[in-house]
């Protein structure tokens, strides 16, 4: 009977349940919580809240659901889904060398001789999500998602009204303003508030309101912040209808919000085909580091507009996009383990991300106001807020706020121009930051 009880006790003690109620061995109580099983427990609760928000509130569920589930999986102790593959050479100890020469050494790994020295050739298979994560680490998934976005996007409103490009540029102000703010926090003298330039750039890119771009840049500049930044970026993209309208109303008058814009001109098929080719050449020549994002975005769009590769076009916008979305979501979520996520900095990143969104929205609206004055009242400044990417949510917000002033006003197509220009703009901004700090 004792043996059975002991066996059950051993199983319990070695289970993930037991591990959940432990603390780390070093540092302050907060650090001990973060590095121990208790931190995993908190992360499991956060993951469940995110799953609830994705399913019940439909906050960007296509991404938030896999992200939250990845977060859940990686925080279940002993699961090992993000364990790194180990492939290293470990020198044999003196005792092991003696045993080797006597022929009695139990060989748990192959032994390799290099220049007369003996090494264990240690190899351990990594966890499933660690292998999938390589697509994030090497910047493969975000450009593939851009391929799908390009295939889904109609750049017609932007071609019909090229001035929209400028609104897409102005809305990138949030990225750089937040970068400045994050660097400035380092001057407070508090080490927990200090960010490196690479980290500050990665936090700033949240203001681009473009998840793949944020992941792409962060994976290259500050991979240790990938979890908090991805969660912040996608959370704020889902909250665009709540964050943007107060800023839009604050910066515009009722008269400006009521402007009815002229109908856009029709765009020919030739223009639509030439658009991705021209954008690729112009942007990549100017900013080579933006080539993966801009190039794939425009390739996807060329698939769409050429009309001759229907099968590839459908695959890019459906199957490929969906597969990569699963991989990127679950692996980015899996980077949010307790030790890296449960830090005071995470809260700071979330606050800075909100500021980035707010500044980006303000930048777009203020340039919209300038255009309103320069054109004698022909441009509705509300379309400027759509310059933060978040396609098509930000454009819908412009439409909704405009219709609150004038129910007969339809700004949606006008706002789609700055909206898709914002995708190009945030890719260019990411390219600039990578060039400066990569």
């Amino acid at each position: 009977m004792d043996a059975i009880l002991k066996a059950i006790s051993d199983i319990w003690n070695e289970s993930g349940y037991m591990k959940l109620f432990t603390l780390g061995s070093e540092g302050s109580i907060l650090e001990r919580i973060a590095t121990g099983g208790a931190g995993n427990l908190i992360m499991i609760v956060i993951a469940c809240v995110l799953i609830y928000l994705a399913i019940k509130k439909e906050f960007e569920p296509l991404l938030l659901l896999p992200i939250a589930f990845g977060m859940l999986l990686v925080n279940l102790p002993l699961g090992g889904v993000m364990n790194q593959q180990i492939n290293s050479l470990v020198p044999l100890t003196g005792e092991e060398l003696v045993q080797l020469r006597q022929g009695i050494l139990a060989q748990s790994y192959p032994i390799l001789e290099i220049n007369g020295s003996y090494y264990w050739q240690r190899f351990e298979t990594g966890g499933l999500l660690w292998y999938l994560y390589q697509g994030v680490k090497y910047g493969i998934y975000p450009p593939l998602i851009f391929l799908g976005i390009g295939a889904m996007t109609d750049f017609g409103p932007l071609i019909a009204n090229p001035k929209s490009f400028l609104l897409g540029a102005a809305a990138q102000f949030g990225i750089f303003a937040t970068f400045f703010g994050a660097v400035a926090l380092g001057l407070t003298g508090n080490p927990s508030l200090a960010f490196t330039e690479q980290q500050a750039a990665s936090i700033g890119i949240i203001g681009g309101a473009d998840g793949p771009t944020a992941i792409w840049l962060t994976s290259k500049l500050a991979p240790e912040l990938l979890g908090p930044i991805a969660v912040a970026a996608y959370s704020y993209m889902a909250l665009v209808p709540i964050i943007q309208p107060p800023i839009m109303r604050l910066l515009t008058t009722k008269k400006e919000r009521s402007v009815v814009m002229e109908q856009l001109r029709p765009v020919s098929k030739t223009e639509k085909i030439l658009f991705p080719i021209f954008v690729t050449i112009i942007v990549v020549l100017l900013l080579p580091s933006a080539a993966p994002l801009v190039g794939m975005l425009m390739l996807g769009n060329l698939f769409r507009e050429s009309g001759v590769v229907d099968r590839i076009f459908r695959t890019a916008q459906n199957e490929l996009m969906n597969i990569v979305t699963i991989f990127i979501g679950i692996t980015v979520g899996a980077t949010a383990n307790a030790a890296t996520f449960l830090q005071p900095r995470t809260l700071l990143i979330i606050v800075l991300g909100l500021l980035a969104f707010a500044f980006g929205t303000a930048g777009g609206v203020l340039l919209g106001k300038l255009m309103y004055y320069l054109t004698g009242g022909k441009v509705n400044p509300l379309i400027g807020s759509a310059g933060v990417s978040a396609v098509p949510m930000a454009a819908r917000v412009s439409q909704k706020v405009g219709q609150q002033e004038n129910p007969d006003n339809f700004l949606l197509m006008h706002a789609m121009g700055p909206n898709v220009a914002g995708v190009i703009g945030s890719a260019v901004a990411a390219g600039v930051l990578l060039t400066l700090f990569g």
């Binding site: 540029a169 001109r265 400066l436």
Partner: protein, 131 residues
């Protein structure tokens, strides 16, 4: 454009100690490059749009296209107790089933009394198709 070189010069001119100054320069450089890229695109597509699109051509095209929208004759006959929506759905279903390049016209719509309700018949047809 060698942005890294510009940034290095900018950082050097800030003396390395002026962190905020360097950060401000990054903000300026970043916004300038983003605006330059998108202004270049604006200019290219503005010129392209002016060349490819003339409003007068479009209006002329629209006017020329008008004769295509002549009403079809003779008018369709259908029982008065069948609503316009039902007729539209039937016409759409016929159009959807027609092979490419073949056009059908719905001339007459009348209710047929069958022994079995039409939805039941459709259900049976669906369930028995594999056999």
């Amino acid at each position: 454009m060698n942005i890294a070189l510009i940034a290095a010069v900018a950082a050097g001119s800030a003396g390395g100690s002026n962190v905020l100054g360097s950060a401000a320069q990054v903000v300026v450089i970043g916004m300038v490059v983003v605006f330059l890229s998108l202004i270049a695109l604006t200019a290219v597509f503005w010129v392209f749009g002016r060349a490819a699109y003339r409003k007068s051509d479009y209006v002329a095209d629209e006017e020329a296209a008008e004769p295509d929208f002549q009403p079809m004759a003779p008018p369709m006959e259908y029982q008065e107790d069948i609503s316009d929506e039902i007729v539209a759905v039937i016409a759409a279903a016929v159009a959807a089933m027609a092979p490419d390049g073949v056009k059908y016209a719905v001339r007459k719509v009348r209710r047929v009394r069958g022994e079995r309700p039409v939805w039941a018949a459709a259900g049976i047809a669906e369930n028995t198709r594999p056999f």
